[in-house]
Structures are given as C-alpha cells and as structure tokens.
Symmetry: C2
C-alpha cells in the first residue's frame, strides 16, 4: 500500500484552541496517522506531521489548510521563525510505493485548491516550476512583511505565483508547497579535533564541492567530546545511500590516519533507507523490505 507523508507548518503556536480546530479539520475525513504535532510558542508556529494513504493525506491537507486560512490572520502574527503565510510551508514526502512524479501531481492539486481559496502559492523543491524557486529560503526572504513589495516587483522570484492571485493577500500571506524525498540526518564523528581535516572530508562528499549529488554537509567541532563532526543531510537515500557516504568518509579520513569514533542517525528515519545498508554490508541482495515485520 502506498504511503505519503506531509509536514504542514502553520503560523500559530500559542492559541491551542485554534490549533485544535485545525487538527480536527485534518482528522475529519478518511484516517491519516498523525505522527507528530509540535507547537512552539516562541516560533508561534505548529508543525503537523502525518502519513497515510496518499489521497487521504491530500484531502486531509486541504481540510487542514482551509481551516488554517479561515482562522489565522497574518496581519496580527508575530513569531521568531521565518514565515510568509498562515499556511506557511507544506512539503509532501513520498514514503512508500509512490514516486516523486506521482507526489508532484498531488502537491499541485493541493496548490491549485489553496490558490482557489485566494492564497498565492509557490511550488518549491522537486515540484518547482522554475530553477530559482527550488529553495525555500530564497522564496521566503523578507518574510510576510516583505511579501507585498516582492509580489509587485517583476524582477523578484515571488512575482507571479504558481497558483492563486498575483497580488498580496494580507490576511493569509502566501504558501510554499512541493515535494521532497524523506531526509536522512546522518552525522559522522571523527576521532580527532582538526577542523581543517574535517573541512577537507566535507568537500569530498558534498554536492556543492564535487561530492555526492544528494549530500549537504558541514564540519563542526564537538567541543565537549574533542571530536570533529561531519554533519549531513542526505536528501535522497535511494540515489545516494547511507553506506556509500559513510564508506567514502571512512576512506577519505584514512589518508590522514583518522578513524571514526561513531555516527548518529538523527530523528525519524524511513525504514526503507536501511535496504541498501543491509544489501551492502550483509551482501543480502535478494532481500525484500516486505519481509520485515514489527
């Protein structure tokens, strides 16, 4: 059975009665599995993370977004987290038996729906319609307060949204939605404290400097442990699997006589990211993830 995940960020993290209404809208239809609901008062922001049958997730996201757009007034919003809309960012994440391409179709159905409610919508990441709209920080630069001017400037990337009105909506701001693969947050801790060697290893693996296509990485010192950490996001574990990045780091480190202290897989990890790990280390090439039970 196909599984889709959504991670919906709305601009309200203080008024719990409002958050509850939005949650009830999400849950009012075919069942979805609400994995996490995280409200932050300082950010004044709530993140809903849920998964389920793709159409149930899509329809639930429409209900959630419609309710948030109805209840949230951005003219009164303050919070420390960057944002530009009542429904701020909505990534759809293909988890199982659904392709990126199929997920883009659903994300665009959502974008079109939200546009129909009068909210300007931008597609980002794998659903972007323009190369310069792929990255969220660029789309959200200047935040809600800067949006009116950006939408009016033909030279700006926020000029002419992908869906909805082309003029500023003061109450709702704008929404960014799209598709990204599940992230794997993977840190490798090197048994030494020379940040320069750490930076050389980062250069070897990250996309921006000639490394693997789906690796974002930085080197940073873990002061208390006296180690250097290569801190990474793997943005597509199928095309750039965990074991390959790890073995490359091991190999690059070895030329400096540096060993691995340990590694960290941080936060939620899709079980499917383990398939290539098993096949590589155990040589279990006939293994099918459907064999797993829990």
């Amino acid at each position: 059975m196909a599984v889709l995940m959504a991670e919906v960020n709305i601009s309200e993290g203080k008024n719990m009665a409002l958050v509850e209404e939005v949650k009830n809208a999400l849950l009012a239809g075919d069942p979805v599995d609400l994995i996490d609901l995280n409200s932050n008062e300082d950010h004044n922001r709530t993140v809903f993370t849920y998964k389920g049958e793709p159409r149930a997730v899509l329809e639930g996201t429409k209900r959630l977004a419609a309710k948030a757009v109805e209840l949230i007034d951005m003219t009164k919003h303050h919070g420390s987290h960057p944002r530009m809309g009542a429904v701020d960012v909505v990534p759809f994440i293909p988890v199982k038996d659904i392709t990126i391409e199929e997920t883009i179709v659903l994300a665009k159905e959502f974008g079109s729906f939200l546009g129909g409610l009068g909210v300007p919508v931008y597609y980002y990441e794998d659903a972007a319609t323009r190369e310069d709209r792929k990255a969220l920080p660029k789309l959200r630069k200047g935040e809600y307060e800067g949006l009116k001017d950006r939408m009016a400037d033909p030279e700006d990337i926020d000029y002419g949204p992908d869906e909805g009105p082309s003029t500023f909506n003061a109450k709702s701001g704008a929404t960014v939605t799209g598709v990204r693969f599940p992230l794997v947050a993977f840190n490798v801790n090197l048994k030494m404290n020379d940040i320069e060697i750490g930076k050389k290893i980062v250069k070897a693996v990250r996309a921006a400097t000639g490394g693997y296509q789906h690796v974002r990485a930085i080197a940073l010192p873990l002061e208390e442990r006296g180690l250097i950490q290569v801190s990474m996001n793997l943005t597509n574990y199928e095309k750039t699997p965990i074991h390959r990045v790890f073995e490359t780091i091991k190999s690059e480190a070895s030329q400096y006589g540096v060993l691995i202290e340990d590694t960290e897989l941080v936060g939620p990890l899709p079980v499917y990211a383990l398939e290539s790990v098993l096949k590589f280390y155990l040589q279990a090439h006939s293994f099918n993830m459907e064999q797993l039970y829990s």
Copy 2:
C-alpha cells in the same frame, strides 16, 4: 506497545469451511493482526500466524484452539506432515516490549486452558518444564498414532503431560505449546564448491560444535549455482546477532581463500534484528529503533 506473535498449527488443511470457522473464532474478540494463513492439502495442516497486543493474542489463541478441538477429529486425520494433535503446535513469540519470561506466563495460561478442555499439553522450547522436552521432534516422535503407548510408558518423555489428562485423548491427540524467540533464517553462499570446507565453516559457527550459542547450521551444495551454502537458523538475534555470525563466516572462509558470493535473509524478519547490524556496520550506537517509520 508490547507485541506478541503466535504461530498456531492445526491438523486440518483440506476442509476450508472448517478452517474458516476456526479463523472466525480467532477474530471474534479484540483485534489481532492475522499476518498469514497457510493451508496445505498434502500436509492436511493449516498454520495461522498473527500478532498483536499480548492479551488479545492469548485470548484469540484460546478461542481458536477451543474451536479446533471441537471440530477436528484426529481419529480420521491423514496428512504427510508430522503431527500429534488437533491443535498440534503453538509457539508464542515475543516480538516487542515483552520478555521471554512474560511470554512463558501467557503460554502457560494457554496450556492450562487447553488442559481444562481435556487435551494433554506439553510445554517445549523456552517454556519446557524438563530439559528433555525442549525439542519438538522428540515430543512428537511416533506422532498421533504412537501417542497412546507413549503416554502409558513411565519411561517415555510423553508420560505425564504438563497440563490436562494424563491419559490419551483419541479425538484431540495432544498439543505442544511454548515460547521461542523470533527465528532469523540466514544463509551465506560461499564462492566455491568444496563441501568439506563448508562443513568446517559450519563447525566454527554452530552451537553443537562449539560455535555460537544460538546458531543451528548445515552446509549444503547449491548445485545449479556451483556454490556451497551455510544454511542457518539464528534462534536469538539479540544474543547472537546476524552481523557477528556473518563476520565470523567471512573470517573463517578467508583462511581457505574463499569469498562470500552473497547471503539470503529468508522469510519474515523482525525489524529489531537489524538494530545490531546498523550499530555494528554504521557505528550508530545511539540509534533507537523507535526512530524508524514506514
């Protein structure tokens, strides 16, 4: 949430109306997740595999067994698979957040219930009350047809069952129930065709010849592929983890200049068996299996 699995073998694999009635009895109470229902006509045997909240699994197993004992008449049973009762073998398997010891308590509640229905019951594997009753083949030797004599022989291990009447029950035969850890079926295929080397490697890893405590192994030729296979059951993946057995086989094979062609993880695999694999190969010692989602 704790998860218990049961794998109930009943002596009927032809009369599907009867199997359906037994299945309905299983499903008539608190929900359990029926993973597999496998009926074999030649064996004249059906295996129900299901899991769920431990007490739901226990109560479902009682209902299932009571219905099978009601409907199956062993005096008329023929089939190619060894058996000695209408409800033949009932292993309970701790999957998650339940110990072997806690599972033994539940298995004994089931045994006592079935004994109360007039069925002689023997505890085996981790629930065995005597060392010589641990192994199923010894308990079932001579099958249903030999049971009357064995139960009457004070020298026999089937004399004096753990629950129920101490005399033969012609209609129901006897039941073996108990507790075992989830099995991992793991085969390592060696890139050579010398069975003698295969046997030496088997000797190094299996419990019976001084190897790992929870490994059963044989060596056999894969004629078509021109390989030797070390075919194993790992009977406790926590105490004898997959990676350790694999690395030992690699190391033992290397003294003969033999490499691994590939390996096979066969059939259902508890996801928890992957924890030590991840920690060993990725050095991800802080990883918690609760981080996984699917």
